[in-house]
Amino acid sequence: MAEGSENKGKPLMLVAVDDSEHSFYALEWTLDHFFAHGTNHPFKLIVIHARSSASSALGVAGFGSVDFMTSLEADMKKSTGKTVQKAKDVCTSKKVENVEVEVMEGDPRNVMCDAVDKHQASLLVVGSHGYGIVKRAVLGSVSDYCAHHVKCSVMIVKQPTKP
């Protein structure tokens, strides 16, 4: 890993991003509050992007022609690339250098739990879409799942509601 020696032994903060506005808000909030003031940050930061595989996105494995799958894959790769670049740009704009952005494939819930275990993170940061109870139950919630199942502490950052 290519960090300077100042990163050794620091607790690790993982920030989960997808292409939603609220996850980027969470990233920005974290950068503003914990990664300001020059280069000596108290935490090491890794940004995790969970990308679903094309077949899971389709719901039925092997549906459609090979061409369709290929173009879908290509499309998803492009959008993943965009998200990764956007995350890097946000960090750079806040003058936080050398941020690792990792892409892991799979269901975001599992990806986050695995990433926490793999990196032995001290804190996982997730945004929250602020769904109400019903929507949350029906659509599921990654932040909920993480709050319950992830082994490390979890920080849930909500976008302030517009007045």
Partner: protein
């Protein structure tokens, strides 16, 4: 950054406090040599609160739950209230000791009512930047991964919330 930590007297909440102090509160420790405290519901405006990102002040909030509606003679209920207040003060005294050891300024806030509501209200009224809760407190249900107050606050508090998980039993940290 204004940080509020919910304390209910459980070991979990005290662990959450220690965790928050160790990990979240960094920065110049030279101005945090005094521990400023205020008990009761009086608000204390800390001199440097919110003026710079390195947190030096923490608010410890403890909510006393109202009694069940037992039929109590007037004298009895006053005594119970007093006992509850003493217990609250003792719980927060322990929490303040922890803050003092880590050289972090702390103020205390004791409220009465439903903990979930009071805590969320307090975070708004005091413009708290970050709320810290343990994952399970006194109302421990063995199979629940997340206690009801923590869960409620995670969903309903408008500010960011940190849910602190207990240390792993296997000792791998």
């Amino acid at each position: 950054m204004r940080v509020m930590v919910a304390i209910d007297g459980s070991d979990e909440s005290l662990y959450a406090l220690k965790w928050a102090l160790d990990l979240l509160l960094v920065g110049p420790k030279d101005n945090a040599d005094d521990v400023a405290t205020s008990t009761g519901t009086a608000t204390l405006e800390a001199p440097h609160a919110g003026s710079h990102e390195n947190v030096s002040m923490v608010t410890l909030i403890h909510v006393m739950q109202p009694f069940q509606n037992y039929v109590l003679p007037a004298a009895g209920s006053a005594e119970l209230r007093k006992e509850q207040e003493e217990k609250a003060a003792a719980i927060l005294a322990r929490a303040l000791e922890i803050c003092k050891d880590k050289m972090i300024k702390a103020e205390t806030l004791i409220l009465r009512g439903d903990p979930k509501d009071r805590i969320c209200e307090a975070t708004e009224q005091r413009h708290v930047d970050l709320l810290v809760v343990g994952s399970r407190g006194l109302g421990m249900v063995k199979r629940a991964f997340l206690g009801s107050v923590s869960s409620y606050c995670a969903h309903h508090a408008k500010c960011p919330v940190v849910i602190v998980k207990p240390p792993k039993e296997s000792g791998k940290q």
